[in-house]
Amino acid sequence: MINNAWLIPVFPAIAFLIIVFLTRRVQLLSALVGIVAIGTSFIMSIGVLREVLVNGISMENPVEYAFTWLGIPGYLKIEAGVLIDPLTAVMLFVVTLVAFLVNIYSVGYMHGEPGFSSFFSYLALFGASMLGLILANNYFMIFFFWELVGLCSYLLIGFYYHKHSAARAGLKAFVTNRVADFGFMLGFFILFAIFGTFNFRELATAIPNYQDTAFLAIAATLVFVGPIGKSAQFPLHVWLPDAMEGPTPVSALIHAATMVAAGVYLLARAFVLFASLPTVMLIVAYVGGFTAFFAATIAITQSDIKRILAYSTLSQLGYMVMAMGVGSMTAGMFHLMTHAFFKALLFLGAGSIIHALEEQDIFRMGGIYKDMKVTVSTFIIASLALCGVPPLAGFWSKDEILAGALNHGFTGLYVLGTVVAFLTSLYMFRLIFIAFFGKRRAGLHGHESPFTMTLPLLILAVLSIVSGFVGAPFVSHGFSSLVYYGEPHHVVPNYGVMGISVLVALAGIFVAWVLYGRPSDVPTKIKHRFPFIYNLLVNKYYIDEVYMWLFRRVILGVSYILNWHDRHVVDGIFDGVGRLTRASGHKLRYIQTGNLQTYALVIFSAVVIITLWIATPVFGGMLQ
């Protein structure tokens, strides 16, 4: 199966072509093609994972095969290749599983949309690109697919292109990611300039022997700019909340579970580069930790259900990046996996609610738990998993990150991470109490979604409960002996960390209940007591405004000046030369019309004269 692993992205790619060229007009057939393709990829990914486990393929002895995609002998060799180690296998499994479920869910969610077939074709293209990214054995190829998943994200965010907001959000996502990719590209250019290869394994052997760590640190920092964009870390996080303009299944698949995690995956893939550079690791850790905290504070004040989840995603991605930065690659990847399941579930649940109510503002919902029992109960399971309530998935993975920070001496980040855990429970249960319980708002008619939508919810709910056990301390040969950097290790339970994080999570839920679980005017009072902080948070720290100002006033301003300069100064000079020629012509009565023949004659005469000048031996010497 591993030798055929290159086929995993090929199936969705073929599905894309089939939908675009053949089945476009038959909607359900398009959906079927998409589902069958990603389903096949899922089955193959299970096969790959099984072989990795059975054949003992580890991080040190992966399987790799490649062919030269573009070569210039002696100067450049770019491979298209496949690298399979446990990291790849786990990612393949997670991505194909979530993508498969989201494809099924979309049949119900997108029912009756005019762009139904296009939607499935984009999903298939995304699947192919994302799986290609995971399998990549070198920086070039990961960049290639990195850009393509970005394209799919752009197309799907702007799916409802008749809405200005959706079109703008797509543009914003693409351009923000471009800024990041600019850095990423420079980063691996430096690596190529130093080592002459893009290949991950060749670099892994070469990097530890390289002495000029300052130069390498620049390269690593630039490479990290890529994940800052793709995984929406501060200060390039601004695109992800706006990306919620896309259809909700897309938010679940691309903007929560898989694509945005690609940045974290890249950090894991390139871990040898970062691990050798403590300064860069510090940057990574603090960018991640700060994003986790920063996004969580915004989430508390938002009222759009998808935006709350989006800021939650930012915050959780911050956790993962922080885990990478403190050196716990295993913990970061573990959290990536559990997060993929419960966050996809949260988004799909939100989609189910939006589908039923056609409403996204949590303050206009309320009391819907009676109508949508499956949706609401699975949503609560996912929330508990996110908050880190044992024994659900998020508990184990988040705990490992916090323990990792503490063990590697990042006490400050550990405290910050614990505060974020409190904020997480607070904003999640604020959402739940306001939207699901309490008084039912007038005019709302909730109903449970169709089977194609609830089935994926149920499956993901099971995964949100059990998937944490693969990395739990009481499991021998668990996640940490599979995906690791350096040595396989066994997780030693740190009961202190566990206890505190459970208490903090429960405290967050309790505070949310006090504030929002029953009629209370405390939230309003807090709002009026601290207007500055409230406005800062509800306006997302005004970062969007600052960026818009920079773009409108500075970049466009300079562009207008340049345009004026081009049209008046540069053009003016040349037109002036022309007019001068014509004017002097008038005076000399040689040229009266300024027509082309006259000009041509002038030019030709000039050529003849200059040529004669060059040809004359006396002056010919002057040339030398």
Binding site: I72, Y154, Y161, L171, F174, M185, F189
Partner: protein
Amino acid sequence: MNFPILTAIMLAPVFGLLIILAIPAREHLTIKITAAVSTFVSLVLAIYAYVKYDYANGGMQFLQDISWVPSFGINYSVGVDGISVPLVLLTAIVIFTGVFASWDMTNRVKEFFVFLLLLVAGVFGVFISRDLFFFYLFFEVAVIPMYLLIGVWGSTRKEYAAMKLTLYLLVGSALALIGIIALFLYAANQLGYPTFDIQTLATVNYDIGFQKFVFFLMLLGFGVLVPIWPFHLWSPDGHVAAPTAVSMLHAGVLMKLGGYGLIRAGVFLFPEGAKYWAPLIAVLCIVNVVYGAMIAMVQRDLKFVIGYSSVSHMGYVLLGIASLNVLSINGAVSQMFAHGIMTALFFTVVGNIYHKAHTREIARFGGLAHQMPRLASAFIIAGLGSLGLPGLNNFVSEFLIFMGSFTHQQAIFGGLITFRTLSILAISGIVITATYVLRVAMKTFFGPRKPEWDYLKDAHGVEMVPIAILVGTLILFGLLPSLQIDVINSGVAPLVAKIEAAKAIGGIF
């Protein structure tokens, strides 16, 4: 190889135009079909030549020599190498699709196609000439019809634009002519016999001072055509004024004559001169890239956007040439091809919209994807090509140029900066490009449906032919770039070997 395939490629449009001259002017369809058939012959032969070109051996192939004026050493000698054969293919694709893009032409159809075919014969001639005299002759043949094509069939300020374009190009070609004559005289003196054969001219050992002087003339002469800043203004004005097919040829092919001339008659003949002037080219091309892209961002007319985007993208070609190494020059040639196809696609789409809507003002559009989904997709694909998305040809080209210039460590301005600094500035162009291309796409095609445009019909039937061919070409070479780079590299490798064998010489800065 007895069949003179290159001459046939060049003469097919000439035959076409002779037949068209014999067709009554009101037989529009017959004229168009004749033009399509003759350019199709060129296309088929060009594909054949491209596929049959033996890149493992490289060098000039499909040779043909006819003695012309022996006393001056002028021969009609043609052949293609790895640098010119993709450009011949490019020209064939662009003219064939250009004929289809002019299918709805109704004004003086006969004369239009006569001049169009004459122009393209000239372009083919430039790319296949091994003789500098014919190279220059064909060059002029390509420039002159442009004046009429824009002046008669153009739109916005057409007389002004046509005059401007022609003057710029004539002044440019006059400078190149001076360089060519100086070169001819110098070489005749050294060799003891007159010749215009480029290969022979390349064997002459030119004095450094002479190289500096003549390369500068070539740089000005061909640079105007590329167009190099600040001699670029003929190009946006010309693009805007020209009818669709002419814009396609103009941006798709004519600008490449500049890049090609700079490589063939500049770098190849005067490697030391090239080394001396390279820093100047590199600095100016950064202006092209960044300045062009920023100006493109604030244009109101769709064609001006594309016009300035061409200024910006051709800056990458100049950067590739200025970096003077294998990767970068491969990238430059590949970029000429990719940009030609991509920009032809842009003009096809915009021309189609303009023909139906009678305006190109971006602010008046919005939501056109509702009425014209195919054109919207084609525009976005062209845009993705232009911003360098992997999977399309332009990505490969730009990537090679960036890699080449990034790894080029030559210091400029007394070590204050290196080529790497300039390359970083150039790479920042990908961000600006993405911004303006997608903003224009958004403003034109996305947003609510505007009922005033409901009468617009999407591209269909014959209008889809150019779109399908151009998109297919971009994707083909984007996914399988070795089909392109293997060929190009067979021409670039000897060129770079010559550059590396040349004396090390400091740059102007």
